[in-house]
């Protein structure tokens, strides 16, 4: 069971709600994923289209909401968005994102740490999205965040866990849950993160833009479960020299030695 800030989750797959072709597809994909934590963003109401309300498609009795601060370019904007998110959701949970460069959407470590410290003081449960920087992850834990969310690769790239070595160090050092976020483009990537000992993964694009998002959501559910089981079972050590799986005696060969044994 995954526990973050005292709340238990039986699913280790978090799902984002962006980029789905329709709210109905999103709703079915979330159901198929069996995710209990979903992220949402805050934006101005489209006054031309006032009925377009995602909340009517999400069952808050079953799903834990994790509003993000996407769009924030600095700490001040992130703090402002966080307070709006709390007013909108009535919840202290927050995925902190500070992304000054719209081209890469890579997180700003300095302003993320600054905003995290402020939001912890303001009584938020803060889950910061960060580059896979083990030192920053520790600094954020010192500041009181509830989890850290290092990226596998830049948002939406589907490139997998490009940051594996740093993520492994973050996991090894972590005193809070580690949720690998961003870049997870295939179920195998999610399984890899879980085998490494990540506590959870967050997937959005890979599910939302699949030909069949509902089926992909189910595939990610299975991959996360398989990866976690693999980690829990204890992976064998890897080696560069060969170690035979079959017995190295009693070969059936020219000599037929085994007959003489």
């Amino acid at each position: 069971m995954l526990t973050i800030a005292g709340t238990e989750f039986s699913s280790r797959l978090f799902v984002g709600t962006g980029k789905f072709s329709s709210a109905t597809v999103m709703e079915h994909a979330i159901a198929a994923s069996e995710a209990q934590m979903v992220t949402v963003a805050l934006r101005r109401v489209d006054l031309e289209n006032p009925d377009d309300d995602i909340m009517s498609h999400l069952d808050r009795d079953k799903i834990h909401f994790l509003p993000n601060t996407s769009g924030a370019r600095n700490a001040d904007e992130a703090v402002r968005l966080a307070h709006l998110a709390r007013a909108a959701s009535g919840s202290r949970w927050l995925k902190l994102e500070v992304t000054p460069d719209p081209r890469t959407l890579l997180p700003d470590p300095v302003d993320t740490l600054k905003a995290a410290a402020q939001l912890v003081k303001d009584d938020f449960i803060v889950l910061p999205y960060i580059n896979a920087d083990p030192v920053l992850a520790l600094r954020l834990q010192d500041a009181g965040v509830a989890a850290v969310m290092p990226l596998g690769a830049p948002i939406g790239t589907n490139q997998g866990i490009q940051t594996a070595l740093q993520v492994a160090i973050i996991i090894e050092q972590a005193r809070v849950p580690v949720v690998v976020d961003a870049g997870i483009g295939a179920p195998s990537h999610a399984a890899q993160a879980m085998e490494m000992g990540a506590d959870a993964v967050l997937v959005n694009t890979a599910i939302a833009i699949a030909d069949d998002p509902i089926r992909m959501a189910a595939a990610f559910k299975q991959a996360v479960q398989a990866g976690r089981q693999g980690f829990a079972a204890g992976l064998g050590a890897s080696s560069t020299s060969t170690r035979a799986s079959s017995p190295q005696r009693g070969f059936i060969g020219e000599s037929l030695n085994f007959i003489e044994e």
Binding site: G16, T17, G18, K19, F20, M26, T39, V40, A41, L42, R43, R44, V45, L47, P50, D51, D53, I54, M55, P67, N68, S70, R80, H83, L84, A87, A88, S89, I155, G156, A182, L202, N204, T205
Partner: protein
């Protein structure tokens, strides 16, 4: 009088409340968060809070995101 609502100039009646504005826009009050001049407004004030000339109103809600 004029206000700016979600970046758009809007003419409203004198004495219009925030709740009245939401009603005009067809927005259920519990589906949005309102910020006036960068101050978040409690939902229980929507019905009584009168808008003033030049107010910057932001109406915000959750959308899909990762």
């Amino acid at each position: 009088m004029h206000i700016v609502c979600n970046g758009r100039q809007q003419e409203i009646d004198q004495g219009k409340t925030l709740g009245g504005l939401l009603e005009d826009l067809g927005l259920p009050a519990d589906s949005v968060v309102a910020e006036i001049n960068q101050k978040i407004i409690d939902r229980d004030q929507y019905a009584t809070l009168k808008l003033s000339q030049g107010d910057q109103v932001e109406l915000i809600r959750f959308v899909g995101g990762g």
